[in-house]
């Protein structure tokens, strides 16, 4: 991990740090053998997933999945500094705090906390916050990708329910969800941006079908809604008011949450270059290798600073105007460059997965994901669009970054 992004633990929290460290050492005992697995199907492992789910639940019981959330919703009622300690300690095990078991609660819970009614918060948040349920974000449709507002999935009110019809694509993962957090059109005659609503849809709803799609990074899914009935109480943020919920959602998806974890693949690359070869030399002594590594280390350092900046500003409720999308844009293009760099450095070795490594540290995963990870949740082009808008370029008013809870 690069020095600039690490954070000095305040004196008063040293006992808490020790508590977290000891707790994790115990909780991770059975999990150490799973270090090689991760998010995508290319290295699916059910046993590992079960372990992650139980770890998520145990963290959730203590309020450590959402440390700063109110206790009544299952949170820890702690400070941002506590959260930073938990995340730092978890990253030592290659675990990303928000993704312990591949649920997108880190995006969905803040949306419900900010835009839900009291009743909805009490009903939906504890499951997400305690790590008891898996949720997918379900936005994209065949004709609605970058243009998120062009939703054609209809949700028409019928008594106490909405009836959903339509199709979503490229969503979720290979692990079945409990809930779908989905954007629907609730007013066929309504104006653009004034016809949208968000729904928290139980995956067991009748009329809902999930079909896997094979993508370069692993399994995504097509979701069909055929007369799918969902209780009206599951519409969050008000009928036809979905666009304002989207701004919270998209800010989080676009990197506004930031991060204080390092990039394990860079540590791995460096480690390999420092390793002594059978002939006594190390790759790091070769001039071309040094030049490539220098670029990789410098750019990674910058990326970690941007990520840490967003992390702290978010927890202080003072989001950076364009920082969220800037970080995401920078990181994605860095990963694309790094994907080529590891082929320059290691040739074929970068094309074969090593299952003894965590996916995030594995070269093949980096190469495989390179040009695919550019588009999840919006492309580099729309990222630049958002960033310009937030800087107020070419318009008289700047668009503000939403606070994201």
């Amino acid at each position: 991990m690069v020095q600039g992004s690490t954070h000095e633990t305040p004196e008063a929290l040293i006992p808490f740090e020790a508590e977290v460290r000891a707790w994790l050492a115990e909780a991770m005992q059975d999990g150490l053998r799973f270090a090689w697995s991760a998010v995508w199907t290319t290295r699916n492992n059910d046993e590992e997933y079960a372990f992650r789910q139980s770890l998520g639940r145990r963290l959730g019981e203590r309020g450590w999945l959402f440390p700063t959330y109110p206790v009544e919703y299952g949170g820890g009622g702690l400070t941002p500094e506590h959260q930073a300690i938990i995340e730092t300690e978890m990253s030592r095990y290659g675990l990303r705090h928000a993704m312990v078991f591949y649920t997108l609660a880190r995006i969905v819970a803040p949306c419900i906390l900010k835009h839900g009614t009291d009743e909805q918060r009490r009903a939906f948040l504890p499951g997400l916050v305690r790590g008891e349920v898996v949720v997918w974000q379900v936005l994209t449709e065949p004709q609605s990708g970058s243009d998120v507002a062009n939703v054609r999935t209809m949700a028409i009110r019928d008594g106490d329910e909405y009836v959903l019809d339509g199709q979503k694509i490229m969503v979720g993962s290979h692990h079945q969800p409990d809930y779908l957090w989905t954007l629907v059109n609730t007013d066929p005659a309504g104006k653009r941006h004034e016809n949208l609503s968000w729904m928290y849809v139980p995956a067991t709803s009748p009329g809902l079908t999930i079909r896997p799609m094979s993508m370069m990074m692993g399994i995504k899914n097509t979701v069909f809604f055929d007369g799918c009935r969902v209780p009206a109480a599951n519409l969050v943020g008000g009928e036809n008011s979905g666009w304002k919920v989207s701004s919270t959602h998209l800010e989080l998806e676009h990197g506004g949450a930031g991060s204080i974890a390092g990039d394990p693949v860079v540590d791995h690359v460096l480690g390999r270059c420092l390793e002594q070869q059978p002939d006594g030399t190390a790759l790091i002594d070769e001039e071309p290798v040094r030049a490539i590594l220098a670029d990789m280390l410098i750019e990674t350092h910058i990326n970690e600073l941007l990520a840490a900046r967003n992390y702290w500003l978010r927890l202080r409720r003072t989001p950076h105007p364009y920082g969220g999308v800037q970080y995401r844009y920078y990181e994605r293009l860095l990963r694309l460059r790094n994907a080529e760099r590891v082929q320059q450095l290691f040739g074929y070795e970068a094309l074969v997965p090593r299952f003894d490594l965590h996916e995030d540290a594995d070269l093949e995963h980096l190469v495989r994901a390179g040009p695919g990870q550019l588009h999840g949740g919006g492309t580099m082009d729309t990222d630049r669009l958002v960033m310009a808008r937030r800087m107020g370029i070419g318009r008289s008013t700047k668009e503000d970054a939403p606070t994201t809870a």
Binding site: T140, Q143, G145, S146, D147, N150, I169, M170, M213, S214, M215, M216, M217, P288, L336, E340, Q343, Q344, L345, F346, G347, Y348, E349, L351, V352, P353, E364, V367, R368, G370, P371, G372, L374, H375, T379, M380, D381, R384, L385
Partner: protein, 380 residues
């Protein structure tokens, strides 16, 4: 410098294009490769019947020895698909190694069935996958009575699982520090262990030679001649690989431009967004750099004026272009382009697999500089 295709070239192009279109629907290729299928012996035999596996081979060994321009035209069409596999690794690379290094008896025994598409061979040259050159050949070959015993581990071999013959690079005790020998090994020989590798490109395997015993006649050409053979064969194969990649870039350009006129977002065709236009502009610049440099190289080869530095320069440009053209096309296609059924995916996988085939772009750039500007050669 404007190249007018000959009638013969047009015909072979059409024949390969037709075959590729019919036999290997591009949409299915990425998936087939991804799932480890990909190689179809029937397909390979058909390619033999159509005569392309003999394009590089003199008539004496069953081929038709076409001019390099014609061969390049055919390979360019394979690139459009993209159809890699043994058509490239056996039909071009191994074939050229045997032609450049084999004795008359070896060529007579090996080439006719390869030309007919009945057998395939593949090069098992480097022990490490990290680089290309004598430093990466560490397998040992020791005289053992009237035979030779090979021990080594080739970490990354293309199309090994379906190959009949390996051309294994190994060091005989008499080979100097910079020399090695190429040795023909039957895929079925005792001690040959093939382990197909998982990962993005299929068709890669690790191949171990554990005390494999072969007769002395299995040495391709003379002992210790491997380095020179491989160098000559590489310099003949690289221009064709460049043609493959150049053809691939053109196919990607075509379907990418088409997509910009079909896909809408925010109520307009995506081709109207300047950012999308920028991706296509960069794509075209990469494509045309590779295309024109490859054409120039082929013309120089036909005129007998191509240098090794020219070949390495072109290889650096075309390899990098194929890689970047895929990236730019991904930027235009976004999500749908990452579906394994999308034609772009076959190219993305091929561009990553070819990136270090006979050296990375960096390797070729270093070779180009070393050849054109030998070190320590600054005029006094």
């Amino acid at each position: 410098m404007i190249h007018e295709p000959t009638e013969e070239e047009r015909m072979i192009r059409a024949s390969v294009a037709q075959f590729v279109g019919r036999e290997a629907a591009p949409d299915g290729l990425a998936r087939a490769r991804h799932e480890g299928g990909g190689f179809d012996r029937g397909l390979h035999r058909q390619a033999g019947e159509l005569g392309w596996l003999g394009m590089l081979v003199p008539e004496a060994y069953g081929g038709s020895a076409m001019p390099v321009g014609i061969c390049a035209a055919a390979v360019e069409e394979l690139g459009r698909a993209p159809l890699m596999g043994p058509l490239l690794t056996s039909g071009v690379i191994a074939t050229l190694v045997i032609l450049e290094g084999g004795s008359d008896a070896q060529k007579s025994a090996l080439l006719p069935p390869m030309v007919a598409g009945e057998r395939t061979a593949t090069l098992a040259a480097m022990d490490s996958g990290r680089g290309w050159g004598p430093a990466f050949v560490t397998a040992q070959a020791r005289p053992d009575g009237d035979r030779i015993r090979i021990d080594g581990h080739k970490a990354f071999v293309h199309d090994a699982a379906t190959a009949d013959t390996f051309i294994c690079a190994a060091r005989l005790p008499a080979d100097g520090p910079d020399a090695f020998s190429l040795i023909l090994v039957d895929a079925g020989a005792i001690g040959v262990v093939i382990e197909p590798l998982p990962g993005l490109p299929s068709g890669l395997s690790a191949v171990s030679f554990d005390g494999v015993s072969v007769p002395t006649e299995a040495i391709l050409g003379a002992p210790g001649a491997g380095r020179g053979t491989l160098e000559r064969a590489t310099h003949r194969a690289l221009p064709l690989v460049c043609a493959f990649m150049s053809g691939a870039c053109q196919a990607i350009f075509d379907f990418t431009v088409e997509y910009t006129g079909q896909r809408s977002a925010f109520g307009q065709l995506i081709g109207r967004f300047q950012r999308v236009q920028d991706h296509v502009v960069e794509l075209a610049n990469q494509m045309d750099g590779a295309h024109w440099m490859t054409l120039e190289l082929l013309a120089k080869i036909e005129a007998g004026t191509a240098t090794a530095a020219d070949i390495h320069e072109t290889a650096a440009v075309a390899t990098e272009a194929y890689y970047q053209v895929c990236n730019y096309s991904h930027m235009v296609h976004a999500g749908p382009g990452t579906d394994l059924d999308h034609p772009l995916m076959g190219h993305t996988i091929a561009s990553r697999a070819l990136y270090q085939l006979m050296g990375t772009p960096d390797h070729h750039k270093r070779r180009m500089m070393d050849l054109r500007f030998p070190r320590g050669g600054a005029p006094a």
